[in-house]
């Protein structure tokens, strides 16, 4: 096992460009919205971070001014409209509960932008595959590039209550949008992977960008024919710091080495990771 980067497999992390610009910035919430399925949308004024955020970047948010919980929580950037960024998250444990209870005019510390970004893939036809809140970085990508790229969207979740942003998505110039829900309450019924082969056969994308639960990504890597599309996924991991110093966020790469999701990722070539079967 070696910690040296395997050249070629991993795109060189954009780290030194992007990480230089990272800031621990005091953010001001200017809008807080509750959505179905215990989800929240926060619009936060963070001029420095917003100015530099690239699709795929994330932030570490201090959810409480107290020493408990002590760690920040990582969240993707849904959209950056300087001086604002938008976060979209689901209330799960205590950290997201605290964050979800904040309101307009509250302020909080935000560290970012963090991580590498999605490759730009200029001129390519790209399929975005979003499972649940995995929509976050892909939404950002689509907002930034939909005008200059041919984009397709495959978006799935448990039920209509957990699929949000559909109005905004409709307004974006996707070549095609396919929605799945496990319970059939919206779109087609089933896991989104059920729609994958047909969509690829019909639309012939040259690349896929995906984000979602581990099980979804593991299924994708088995379904996507190697070589046919360039495939990248944005990963999640438990994070202690978010900027590369604690070494807690590692994921096992295909070459047997551990990669830090926070600064070598969160975007990795889909085939570069060892997925559970």
């Amino acid at each position: 096992m070696s910690l040296h980067l395997t050249k070629g497999l991993f795109t060189a992390p954009a780290k030194h460009g992007i990480m230089r610009g990272m800031q621990d910035e005091r953010g001001l919430i200017v809008e807080a919205r509750s959505l179905d399925g215990d989800c929240r949308l926060l619009k936060i004024a963070v001029p420095q971070i917003a100015a530099q955020a690239k699709p795929g970047n994330f932030v570490m948010v201090r959810v409480s001014p107290s020493l408990d919980p002590i760690l920040r929580r990582p969240f993707g950037i849904l959209q950056s409209e300087p001086p604002h960024i938008w976060l979209y998250f689901q209330v799960r444990g205590r950290g997201t509960q605290l964050l979800g209870s904040l309101r307009a005019a509250d302020s909080l510390d935000i560290l970012g932008p963090l991580g590498n970004a999605f490759p730009e893939l200029a001129g390519k036809k790209i399929l975005l595959i979003a499972g649940g809140r995995g929509i976050v970085p892909l939404f950002h990508y689509a907002k930034a590039y939909a005008a200059q790229r041919q984009l397709l969207l495959l978006y799935g979740g448990r039920s209509a209550a957990e699929l949000h942003l559909l109005e905004e998505i409709k307004a974006m110039p996707f070549e095609k949008t396919v929605i799945f829900s496990e319970d059939g309450s919206i779109g087609k019924k089933g896991l989104l992977t059920a729609g994958l082969e047909k969509l690829i056969a019909e639309q012939r994308p040259q690349a896929t960008l995906s984000c979602g639960p581990e099980a979804m990504l593991a299924r994708l890597v088995r379904m996507l024919k190697p070589g046919k599309t360039e495939n990248y996924a944005s990963l999640e991991a438990l994070m202690g710091c978010g900027f590369g110093v604690c070494h807690s966020c590692v994921v096992l790469a295909a070459d047997g080495s551990y990669r830090k999701v926070c600064d070598e990722g969160p975007v990795f070539p889909l085939e570069g990771i060892q997925w559970p079967n």
Binding site: R20, G21, M22, Q23, L71, V245
Partner: protein, 303 residues
């Protein structure tokens, strides 16, 4: 204006704040946040002879006002670290301290010798107290005899000040501290992390592959402060205190019980600019309390 310099006997630091090993990466990661020259010194992540991949994830678990870690000292190995140190040294004049690790005494000696030979390295910290290497958390610093042998051996091959880092997971930390002193340690640092357990109720398994992990962060401050106080009263070499520091006041608490300087660990994760904030707070607090310099209060606890 308070004078912040911290006297370690064999050298004087411009202030007492030293980011702790394993919580400050290789230094460079903090360049976006502040000028490293502002620090008293800095300590790099623990290093072994060869590259190590570390423990399987999860490696960190949050606890009330603390974290349990079982990173397992992932790292690039001594050769690569030498390059990193040269690069870092070009960017800062702050003394660089190497945290020396080993699976056995011979490896400690080897690694210490390598970094003692580097002009860019100011001192060595011998990490004989990591609970994440051996199963059950065993480490040399749990035993005065082993500590004495190991420190003596390492002292023979190094020409740099040697700080010996102690473990709180022992019945007799004062005995171990005295053993380190007797074997020639130039300073002592404490504490490394406390052994703790976290379990996964769903899987009915420990959270960590190694079962036990090391607790750090504000939660441990009252425990660590007690140990630092006890050791300070019983050794003559300088002591570098740590455990749960998050503010300038915390730093002064450690100085008051006798520490010559301090390290700050976990707080670096949740607030990358913490070191510089804390240095500012020390100065403000000293001015408020009309303390002119650290030696005025160092070890002055009336107990």
């Amino acid at each position: 204006m308070a004078e912040l310099s911290a006297d370690l006997g064999f050298c004087t630091l411009k202030n007492p704040v030293i980011p702790a090993s394993g919580t400050f990466g290789y230094g460079e990661e903090f360049l976006p946040f502040f000028d490293l020259d502002l620090l008293g010194a800095l300590i790099l992540k623990g290093i072994f002879r060869k590259p190590r991949s570390g423990n399987p994830p999860p490696r960190l678990a949050e606890t009330p006002a603390g974290v349990l870690n079982s990173i397992g000292l992932a790292g690039p190995g001594s050769e690569k670290l030498q390059e990193i140190i040269r690069r870092l040294h070009a960017k800062t004049r702050t003394p660089i301290i190497v945290n020396v690790c080993g699976e056995d005494d011979r490896e400690f000696e080897e690694v210490a010798e390598i970094f003692s030979a580097m002009a860019e390295v100011a001192m060595l910290e011998l990490n004989i107290s990591c609970p994440n290497i051996k199963k059950g958390g065993a480490c040399p610093a749990q035993d005065a005899g082993h500590t004495s042998r190991l420190v003596r051996r390492v002292k023979k091959v190094v020409r740099k000040p040697l700080i010996v880092k102690l473990s709180p997971n022992t019945a007799d930390i004062v005995g171990v501290a005295r053993a380190a002193e007797g074997a020639g340690a130039d300073a002592i640092s404490l504490v490394n992390t406390f052994l703790g357990l976290a379990v996964d109720l769903e899987k009915r398994k420990p959270v960590f592959a190694n079962t036990l992990a090391g607790l750090s962060g504000p939660a441990i401050k009252p425990l660590a402060l007690k140990l630092v106080w006890e050791v300070c009263r019983q050794v003559r070499i300088p002591v570098i205190g740590m455990g749960g520091i998050t503010s300038g006041r915390d730093v002064l608490d450690y100085i008051l019980v006798g520490a010559a300087a301090v390290q700050i660990g976990t707080v670096n994760f949740c607030e990358p600019g913490a070191a510089v904030r804390i240095i500012g707070e020390i100065e403000a607090e000293m001015d408020k309390l009309q303390i002119k310099n650290l030696s005025e209060i160092r070890g002055k606890l009336q107990a």
